[in-house]
């Protein structure tokens, strides 16, 4: 190959590798979804994952929402004062939290906590032959390990987003009423009257999609982990990075779909 063609070959190889990875993830996702409705089911595993992914993520999602709501109120107040529009703080905090920041930050925080944990756990199971052992014990690893995690994350994230929304709005309320001089009753009335059902629902739908992506990436990278500690470490990193990027990309697409039609 002539030196002048080498960069083209590199781009070609990278493109093929990317397409192969997308195809592989798509097949994995389709297989996982196809198992959602087919027995055997593992309700105890599902409950365990609901606890692990949903309940145990509450503190991190709640704290993120609380501080973000507070910071958002300060920023909107400072920005709004440039054109004498400080009064819009309750409305903008509410819409910003429920439509965007609640689901996106909740999704990213859960990606950091859960995708990493899932990839590390399943990756370790793979390198220690526990996944092979499952097969020899007549248990489908995809059904036993991936399906309960994907289902639990898809069900948990909307609940986490709803709780995060409420805490985020509370954070904005707390800062606005204690630091910026807003009236408590007026702040709450403005928030409640301004928000529409679709604002909240769209955020919850985003949460469900992000939950699916987080668990999918954790399971996919865990199941395809390389050998040894290095392989598991790489799978964990890839799971968090790919889940985060997919969340941000999916957020844009869903926002386009929900609010520009």
């Amino acid at each position: 190959m002539t030196p002048i063609l080498a960069p083209v070959a590199t781009v070609g190889r990278s493109t093929l590798a990317l397409l192969a990875a997308i195809g592989s993830v798509a097949i994995f996702a389709a297989r996982a979804v196809s198992h959602l409705l087919r027995p055997p089911f593992y309700p105890r595993e599902l409950l365990h994952q609901l606890l692990h992914i949903g309940w145990l993520s509450l503190p991190v999602v709640g704290l993120t929402a609380l501080f973000t709501g507070g910071a958002l109120a300060l920023q909107i107040y400072a920005g709004g004062s440039r054109f004498d529009a400080q009064a819009v703080v309750p409305q903008i905090v509410a819409i910003g939290i429920v439509r965007e920041l609640g689901p996106v930050l909740g999704g990213l925080m859960v990606a950091g906590r859960v995708a990493a944990a899932i990839a590390a756990e399943i990756g370790t199971m793979k390198v220690t032959e526990q996944i092979d052992a499952l097969v020899t014990l007549s248990t489908n690893p995809l059904k036993y390990l991936a399906v309960p995690r994907i289902l639990a994350a898809t069900l948990s994230l909307p609940v986490l987003v709803a709780v995060g929304d409420a805490i985020g709005i509370f954070g904005g309320y707390l800062v606005s009423t204690t630091r910026l001089g807003f009236n408590e009753a007026a702040y709450l009335r403005n928030t409640v009257e301004f928000l529409e059902t679709w604002d909240v629902t769209s955020g919850l739908i985003k949460g469900a999609v992000f939950g699916f992506l987080v668990a999918l990436m954790g399971c996919y990278h865990g199941m395809n982990s390389g050998r040894g500690a290095q392989g598991v470490g790489r799978a964990t990193t890839n799971a968090v990075v790919s889940a985060s990027i997919l969340i941000l990309a999916a957020n844009y697409l869903l926002t386009e779909l929900f609010f520009t039609a």
Binding site: P40, Y42, M125, T128, E129, Q130, D132, A133, V135, T136, L137, S138, T139
Partner: protein, 248 residues
């Protein structure tokens, strides 16, 4: 009972199995020996369907392993993995009774626990081990738990992958004796892969030596010390000098 015929398997450019042919009769204890990286584990994994061969046929009781009901097929097998492969998220008794707690062989939980405790006792572990987690056990105890799990559902065929690796000579002897006793008692067909010649002598009815992806020599265990094959001789004596390259 188990027949592998002209099985080939490569991983990328590395050809691991190059026409492996091996028969294991019903009730026989066959031990496959060979150096590291010669494809012993791949051979077992091909039978179980964990690795798909590139070519060749594998049958169990004349039935192609790639066809038919997979769950029913796997229900006939038990396997002891090299590292134990115990599920570290569940206590010992649930590991042993895994098959009895779900799927076609599901039993009520108290009954599954009772069977698990009985199997633990069979491999020399006391009932108080049942509620410990695998990470709380020594290497030898983990092997015994793995053995108890392999026999819990009373399989017809049991595979042992390096059953004594990492154990001291006394614990190796204990595991070897247990395997021999259990296989004889259950009338199971057993295939063991090992480097350990003391395991070979304790467990085997028949020995097959795998080299360069093929069976180099096979015969009754009583003939391994008198066989003429230079590869087998070198392996049995553990000599660094011989036809098998020391650096692989």
């Amino acid at each position: 009972m188990i027949a592998l015929t002209d099985v080939h398997k490569a991983f990328g450019s590395k050809q691991v199995l190059r026409g492996l042919t091996l028969d294991v009769a019903k009730g026989e204890s066959c031990v496959i020996i060979g150096g590291s990286g010669t494809g012993k584990s791949v051979c077992l994994k091909c039978v179980l369907g964990l690795v798909i061969p590139d070519s060749g046929t594998i049958t169990v009781d004349g039935q192609d392993v790639t066809r038919g009901d997979r769950d029913a097929f796997l229900a006939r097998f038990g396997m002891l993995f090299q590292g134990g492969a115990l599920f570290d998220s569940m206590p010992v008794w649930q590991n042993v009774g895994f098959r009895l707690l779900r799927g076609a062989q599901k039993r009520p939980k108290p009954e599954a626990r009772e069977i698990a405790v009985e199997k633990l006792r069979r491999v020399g572990l006391t009932p108080d081990v049942a509620d410990l987690y695998p990470s709380e056990l020594s290497g030898g105890m983990q092997k015994r738990v793995g053995l108890a799990r392999a026999i819990a559902a009373e399989p017809e065929i049991i595979f042992f992958d390096e059953p004594t690796t990492g154990l001291d000579p006394i614990m190796s002897g204990v595991i070897n004796d247990l395997i021999r006793e259990i296989v004889t008692e259950m009338g199971a067909t057993a295939v063991t892969i090992t480097h350990d010649m003391s395991s070979v002598r304790a467990i085997a009815d028949k020995v097959a030596m795998l080299h360069a992806g093929k069976i180099r020599w096979h015969g009754p265990v009583g003939q391994i010390d008198t066989a003429e094959d230079p590869y087998l001789r070198q392996f049995v004596t553990g000599s660094a000098v011989g036809p098998i390259e020391a650096v692989r």
